[in-house]
Symmetry: C2
DNA sequence: TACTATTTTTGAACACGTTCAACTGAACGT
DNA sequence: ACGTTCAGTTGAACGTGTTCAAAAATAGTA
């Protein structure tokens, strides 16, 4: 019984926080306000969440879990570019109500030491959960990928996605139409490059790219 | 006389701040400490600098001015890749003592609304000052660039540079050797792509890239 | 010199994220 | 029933970046 009440309190705080983030944005929402709206003392928010950032991280985790089923239709397409397009569109739609505060997740994107960075250690689990979607898209569409490139392909597509999402988050055009344009234009290129990469002629170029990936990963 | 004393106080605060940033890092240095080390009240730091971030921004501005002359030898190379290599190496060396706190400049790199982002409005002047170096390298090496691509080339090289510097700032390898590797490997590709871009065959590809640049810029 | 206007300087105060010692009360053994 | 335990909860307190009304120093004018 105690556990249940506790879990409920946790959820209550999480949702008050997300409501506030949506209404006012992330930096404008204070922990005191979150606690007040949950009818709880300030300190309790810290009993359940390690930090203000951690609340966003938890939201993002749940979001990816929610997205699993929602991505199912997208994963039915036969061609890789159609799949990727559908995956991105599904994410746009799912995240749309929270576009404003999701910037918080990207704010320290550049710093791998920041917990909120998509590249950080704390978000590793979330990130790998997300990799799997791309791996599946690659596997099931049976797109041909050179052996040397294959182990990194899901990661590369994930990075591509992160770039697109980053742009989308800060996209001020009506209905984020520019992000949609960007997807349409860039997806063509990604898939074209993927096809080109199979040409034996381009093995040296592939080698260079792989070297770069290697350096970037350490 | 008043102006001079005032200017001196300003410099005193700026240098105390930079010393502290170098010693302890940016987040670990407090405004109170900076003021104390300058022998001045806390509030005075805010009389001269709009914010803690603004101090870093000012440092970066000065740095680029200092770099002008230092880049002169680099701008003597005949080949574009040699120039770019020399430019990057000069920046590595100049910024080396401040590598630790320069992360502050990148911390909100993703958010164009953050003043410290290299893409922000407040850093526009600095950014354009930096563009000019790349424009000069392009012009003086007489490298052939398709007409449609030419107006954007300096910007593209600048972005490439920002990516490299970003990696360098967070590079934990001994002597940032991985950053050097990255430069060596990636510069080859950049220049190769530039040469390829002249092939009439690749006009459609160029068109796509230009469309992408257009979308990214708005 | 005395009076005024302007620039420079002060330090207390504010709101924030976060921490922590203390308190509450339900669950459990006796 | 009673005491013990400990997850759950409280709110004051800390250190932070930043603001601001007021004081001090300086320049200009008579």
């Amino acid at each position: 019984m105690r556990q249940q009440r506790s879990a409920e309190t946790r959820v209550k705080i999480l949702e008050a926080a997300l409501d506030l983030f949506r209404e006012r944005g992330f930096p404008e929402s204070t922990m005191r306000e979150i606690a007040a709206r949950s009818g709880v003392a300030t300190g309790l928010a810290y009993y359940y969440f390690a930090s203000k950032d951690a609340i966003v991280l938890e939201y993002y985790q749940r979001a990816l879990e929610d997205l699993g089923p929602l991505l199912e239709p997208a994963q039915q397409h036969k061609k890789l570019d159609d799949r990727l397009h559908a995956i991105l569109e599904a994410k746009f739609q799912y995240f749309e109500p929270n576009r404003r505060f999701l910037g918080a997740l990207m704010s320290n994107a550049a710093d791998p030491a920041s917990a909120l960075s998509p590249f950080s250690e704390p978000s590793r689990a979330i990130r790998e959960f997300d990799f799997a979607q791309f791996q599946r898209a690659i596997d099931e569409t049976g797109v041909s990928i050179p052996k040397d490139l294959a182990p990194h392909m899901a990661k590369i597509l994930w990075m591509y996605q992160m770039g697109i999402l980053l742009f989308w988050i800060y996209d001020r055009s009506e209905n984020q139409s520019r992000s949609r344009q960007l997807v349409k234009r860039s997806l063509g290129m990604v898939v074209l490059l993927l096809k080109l990469s199979n040409l034996p002629l381009l093995k040296p170029a592939r080698k260079t790219v792989l070297d770069l990936v290697g350096i970037l990963e350490g």
